[in-house]
Point group: C2
Chain length 215, copies 2
């Protein structure tokens, strides 16, 4: 066979090389088998201050310490990069969540447990993100702290600004939060401890066969 033709059809015939490479089909199953865990999208949703990012990062740390492939997508790494061109209009918010859903799907395909931490207040947007992947791959986790608790925490001072009218269309104050009706998991981030919440998520992932029981 000619050298050129090997670009048409993958083949390992021809010149001997020292490449350890046998045309593995690197798909999700192969990755799961190698890593010892499935991939999944953990979609954290809830009000600002409900603890989405904190919980997602804590779960991420726990997964990492078990040696699992995991990654958090949140405002810090998405809003100023991939979605830097988007503002806060209805159309832009929808596009923001659409892109996050698509990127999460890529990480899923790459064998990574990907944790997304965005308010994502609208059911339709969350439903679209869920519809991108197979049943079981999308795990919606409602961080269910009450508005009162979130506003009292006001970790970023955003509620005060929203009440003062300095932020328009702020979820929970001047824009609706559409509660998940049947999330895979509802976590009471308003009253239970972070440790309890992390354990609740891990227990669910183990029960669904996403991750193995920690040894």
């Amino acid at each position: 066979m000619t050298a050129t033709s090997s670009y048409g059809a993958l083949t390992n015939q021809g010149a001997s090389t020292n490449i350890a490479w046998h045309h593995t089909s690197v798909d999700r199953d192969a990755r799961a088998q190698q890593r010892g865990h499935r991939s999944a999208i953990l979609w954290f949703t809830g009000l600002s201050g409900a603890g989405k990012s904190t919980l997602a990062n804590a779960v991420n740390s726990a997964l990492f310490e078990q040696g699992l492939s995991c990654y958090v997508l949140d405002g810090d790494n998405v809003r100023h990069g991939l979605c830097a061109d988007l503002g806060f209009s209805d159309a832009d918010r929808e596009e923001n969540i659409r892109r996050i859903g698509e990127v999460a799907k890529l990480f899923l395909d790459a064998g990574v447990v990907v944790l997304t931490a965005f308010v994502s207040p609208f059911r339709a947007d969350r439903r679209r993100a869920r519809a991108l992947v197979e049943a079981g791959d999308f795990i919606e986790i409602h961080c269910a702290a009450d508005l009162t608790v979130c506003e009292q925490r006001d970790t970023k001072g955003l509620y005060a600004k929203a009440r003062a009218g300095e932020i328009k269309d702020f979820t929970g104050i001047s824009s609706p939060y559409e509660m998940p009706e049947h999330p895979e998991l509802r976590v009471d981030t308003g009253s239970q401890s972070l440790e309890e919440s992390v354990q609740q998520v891990l227990t669910y992932l183990i029960s669904q066969g996403v991750i193995p029981q920690a040894s």
Copy 2:
């Protein structure tokens, strides 16, 4: 401490739990240390038919078989998903490459060797993608098959259509391909075998300390 306050500052104090979790800062260094390899963006560029996707997938297989974290971004998983809203106007092509650069940066941050396989014909676009990350993290790989060779292969029948005027602004025919002037690697995908090309890329990655020597 109260349960609520643990969402303000990550802490492991309080109720005893069975969570193996110690607030690891899961950054690129931690991931590299755990996985035994650095992450990097391998940015394959070249004419349609030059073998970008074939080479990227073959390198990906080789990395996977060494147990490394790796993933290919190409037309198959990006154009119909994240970039499904984009057409082929100049502005849309630029936005397409911008998003791919941003997603590649996320995978880089996630500790993954990410291989992008897109024509990416314009220097300015490639320069912008490179500028998103630190020096050394962006490895531009020019798949340098001549137009003659690519057109002769015409694996997807696109050159015939472009010559017939059925595809507008086709790179190499009716739209320019701006050759990389100083790519980290130039691979002669026109005449050398796929095996040789894979080896060339792996040798480079080893020389740069991105991946370990295969055992």
